[in-house]
């Protein structure tokens, strides 16, 4: 096992209040995997990373790296590579000296240091920058130096704290693809903290979604996206249409749709329900279809490869749909046009019962 974290808890004390940053968190990172801790700022993800590195001491809980309990081991002896959000490059050392630092501390022979640093410079596309100082580099280059520096002493685990947070959008996208490629080549167990869901979905094998100091859900990107376990995850990962409704006369009505209250869904009379569906999970057609619902396009916006539609159906039911650009043109859609639509699946949270998310069963719905 690469990283195992058991019942980790950390509270920060300030003058006025105690802030529970991490609350009884347990999770695992498989050897050689690239895993993300995803969550908004203040959700405790960076604190977990810093505790794994030994930069912060947990109040309770245990941390294992490669099977060894390192909870009380000094940072220096844990053998982790850490990439800081703001690079934290050594300002007064050159790129070469920065990357060589960890090997020098280990007392590696000079020839070996030189070989390893040159290899990393080459691998990270920094070949001619060895003699530069950090302030002479661009943001993307600095980030790569920080990564090379962390990788140089061959760490057991690579920890990345918002590694692309301070870089502008375009280079960010390049860097993340390149991080994935690099990871596939080196196979170093990597745990990476981000607030950017797109980033996590794109490059990670596994994602843990965090909120307010606890893990809400862990799973593959597909699982997280398709089957969000809680309302928070549904909201935080990807776009969602959200509608509130109440179970009345044994039925739950959302716009033109109607679901049975008990039976498959197990809802009680008067339960307040919040219903979610993805804008991408909607089938749209310009042709009238007897088995579909009917609506009108209020607005469209161009998103590049896809088109976002604001749709108004009967009973004042409004939602957003995102469809591929070619569908929009093939179906001859336009603002104000009448369409038929079909929503593929709904998820819901029973606001009275708790935060667990379930799929709505269509069962005996009527048109």
């Amino acid at each position: 096992m690469g990283v195992v974290v058991k019942n980790l808890t950390k509270t920060f004390q300030s003058q006025k209040t105690d802030f529970a940053a991490v609350r009884d968190v347990s999770f695992e990172v498989e050897e050689g995997a690239l895993v993300a801790l995803l969550g908004p700022s203040g959700s405790g993800k960076s604190t977990i990373l810093r505790m794994i590195a030994g930069l912060e001491q947990p109040d309770s809980g245990e941390i294992f790296l490669g099977g060894e309990n390192v909870t009380r081991l000094a940072t220096q002896k844990r053998g982790v590579g850490f990439v800081f959000q703001n690079y934290a490059l050594f300002k007064q050392l050159t790129v070469f000296q920065n990357i060589a630092f960890g090997l020098q501390v280990q007392g590696a022979p000079r020839a070996e240091i030189k070989g390893r640093v040159s290899e990393l410079l080459e691998l990270l596309g920094l070949k001619d920058l060895g003699r530069r100082y950090p302030h002479q580099l661009s943001g993307g280059q600095r980030q790569r130096v920080a990564l090379a520096r962390a990788l140089a002493p061959r760490p057991k685990v690579l920890l990345l704290d918002e590694p692309f947070g301070a870089i502008d959008a375009k280079i960010r996208k390049e860097l993340r693809e390149w991080l994935r490629t690099l990871h596939d080549e080196m196979h170093v167990t990597s745990l990476f903290v981000t607030h950017d869901q797109e980033e996590a979905l794109e490059i990670c094998d596994h994602i843990y979604v965090m909120n307010q100091g606890v893990i809400e859900q862990g799973g593959t990107p597909e699982e997280i996206y398709k089957r969000p376990a809680t309302e928070f995850v549904a909201n935080f990962v990807g776009l969602m249409n959200i509608h509130d409704a109440v179970v009345k006369d044994g039925k739950l009505s959302i716009g033109p749709y109607s679901f049975p209250g008990n039976g498959g869904n197990g809802l009680a009379e008067g339960d307040r329900i919040r219903v979610f569906f993805r804008p991408q999970d909607i089938y749209i057609s310009g042709a009238s279809n007897a088995y579909a619902m009917h609506a009108r396009i209020v607005r469209r916006s161009f998103l590049g490869v896809s088109i976002k539609l604001e749709i108004e159906a009967e009973h004042g039911f409004r939602f957003i749909a995102i469809i591929p650009e070619h569908v929009f043109y093939n179906e001859k859609l336009a603002e104000g046009a009448a369409i038929s639509y079909q929503i593929e699946e709904f998820h819901y949270v029973n606001l009275r019962a708790g935060k667990g998310m379930k799929k709505l069963v269509f069962a005996d719905y009527e048109i």
Binding site: F82, F84, K91, Q92, V105
Partner: protein, 274 residues
């Protein structure tokens, strides 16, 4: 660094009027006295100056000043950096109060500083025992003068290093730790290079103040010629004894030091702002 401000809308009369006023004030306050000192020194002539200055006790006075200044740089350089480090990187009860007290030596009269040390180390003082036990005479001798110099120069290194340490932050130190470096290695390779220009600036201020200290060392040391007389005390005695050649020339030498230090300070300040 300072933003450059757009200059349109600036009334040239106001602008040059203000600049002239400031320049004139500085010429009168600083320029004229220095110029007059130089003129009078030249008038006295090299012969008389050499005669008055070429005395063993004058050489002794300058040597003592240099030694006390180096002592101040050494002790307050090391301990000042340590205090700054503790103040910036650690949180403990009483920290805010200590932070306020750090500036105190800046405001305490040098005469009072010297006097306090006499009370402390002298007859019936709390540390008289220490004086007897170590066999060193502190009062009316150089050790007491060194402590006096340390007192008055204490804030400079601390105050210059603290903001730089704050600015540098802890991330580079943490990065070094994750790479396996221990405390000393981190200090020498990461922390110290990060604060060096601020430290050097603080050291130059310490040096300037130590070279020019008068009241505190006069009171503790009593200014015995050839023994506890520093350069500034010599200038004072020379004025009293109307040996103007020596007094003026020694003053000019001290001003020369000041200018050199000022140049160094400007340079360090620029570097620390980069």
């Amino acid at each position: 660094m300072a933003k450059s401000h757009p200059e349109h809308r600036q009334n040239p009369w106001v602008k040059y009027g203000l600049i002239t006023a400031v320049a004139a004030y500085l010429l009168w306050l600083l320029g004229l006295p220095i110029f007059t000192l130089i003129r009078h020194t030249v008038e006295i002539g090299a012969g008389r100056i050499a005669e008055e200055l070429w005395q063993s006790e004058v050489a002794h006075a300058f040597a003592l000043t240099v030694l006390l200044s180096l002592g101040a740089v050494l002790f307050n350089g090391v301990f000042g950096t340590l205090v700054a480090y503790v103040m910036v990187r650690q949180r403990f009860r009483g920290r805010a109060l200590i932070n306020a007290i750090l500036d105190l030596p800046f405001a305490v009269s040098p005469v009072v500083v010297g006097y306090m040390l006499i009370l402390l180390f002298g007859k019936a003082g709390w540390l008289q025992g220490l004086a007897e036990w170590t066999g060193i005479s502190w009062v009316f001798a150089w050790p007491g003068m060194l402590v006096a110099t340390l007192f008055v120069t204490f804030p400079f290194v601390v105050r210059e290093v603290m903001p730089v340490l704050e600015e540098v932050g802890t991330e580079q130190e943490e990065a070094a730790r994750t790479l396996g470096a221990g405390g000393w290695k981190i200090f020498w390779r990461i922390t110290l290079p990060g604060i060096r220009w601020g430290l050097l600036y603080g050291v130059s201020l310490t040096l300037a103040r130590a070279l020019g200290e008068f009241g505190a060392v006069l009171v503790v040391g009593a200014g015995v010629s050839g023994s506890t007389e520093t350069a500034t005390i010599y200038v004072y005695r020379a004025m009293e004894e109307r040996m103007f050649g020596g007094a003026y020339a020694a003053s000019l030498i001290l001003i020369g030091f000041s200018f050199l230090l000022l140049l160094g300070m400007e340079w360090f300040k620029k570097r620390s702002n980069v």
